[in-house]
Symmetry: C2
Subunit: 130 residues, 2 copies
């Protein structure tokens, strides 16, 4: 897929739309956590950290809708619901991990660039304000 061939509008829109799903704040973390194996709702909630009940529910629904996660309900008391990556979800996990690796490898550079940028912006603001 060379960039010269990337000018098909419909494909671009689809890709963007799906990247939004995959790239959103919580989906990635949930997928990664599920990469460790089957997990329950509150287990997931604990492991992801910082996610609200509501968001976890929505995220899981979205992933389930896209066929990346399966939801198994055991009608016991108390109720028990287990989430698990599908085959598709597992294949996505690999790609997500690749992206994660890139971030980890380059995070130092990014952080530094960010620091430098903010510093420069701060200088501009100061001279501008004064």
């Amino acid at each position: 897929m060379t960039p010269s061939h990337m000018h098909v509008p419909a494909d671009c829109r689809t890709v963007t739309e799906l990247l939004s799903r995959v790239g959103d704040k919580w989906s990635v973390q949930v997928v990664v956590q599920l990469g460790e194996g089957t997990k329950r709702f509150n287990e997931l909630r604990r492991d992801v950290g910082g996610i609200s009940q509501r968001m976890l529910t929505l995220t899981l629904r979205g992933l389930e809708r896209d066929g990346l996660v399966t939801r198994t309900i055991y009608p016991t008391i108390p109720p028990r619901v287990e989430y698990r990556l599908t085959e598709l979800g597992c294949s996505l996990l690999k790609t997500v991990r690749a992206l994660g690796s890139w971030v980890i490898e380059n995070r130092q550079q990014i952080m530094e660039a960010r620091r430098r940028f903010d510093e420069a912006a701060g200088l501009v603001s100061r001279s501008d304000a004064a």
Copy 2:
């Protein structure tokens, strides 16, 4: 919050934060477009399609901040500003393309899963309502 004694969690947060940057709606498209070479502001705006001036500005600034894009200003009249991927940006482009490839390869499955899910939800709603 220095990750001196907390190894994994801090990394996860960083990764997530950076994934948010990379995964947002416009950044991906802008990076892909810049993968074709140096571009000017309005050129970029045209090629991305559907992006507002504001969003393009914000997206470019974000990418610049993270050291993924360089902004070169030619103080001519009229002004001329060129954007270009840095080395870091180019390496990201590869990973982004990999993710894009995954989406393209599996988009049929996702769409089908989505359709099935929505259909099932529709049935539930209907029987529930009726």
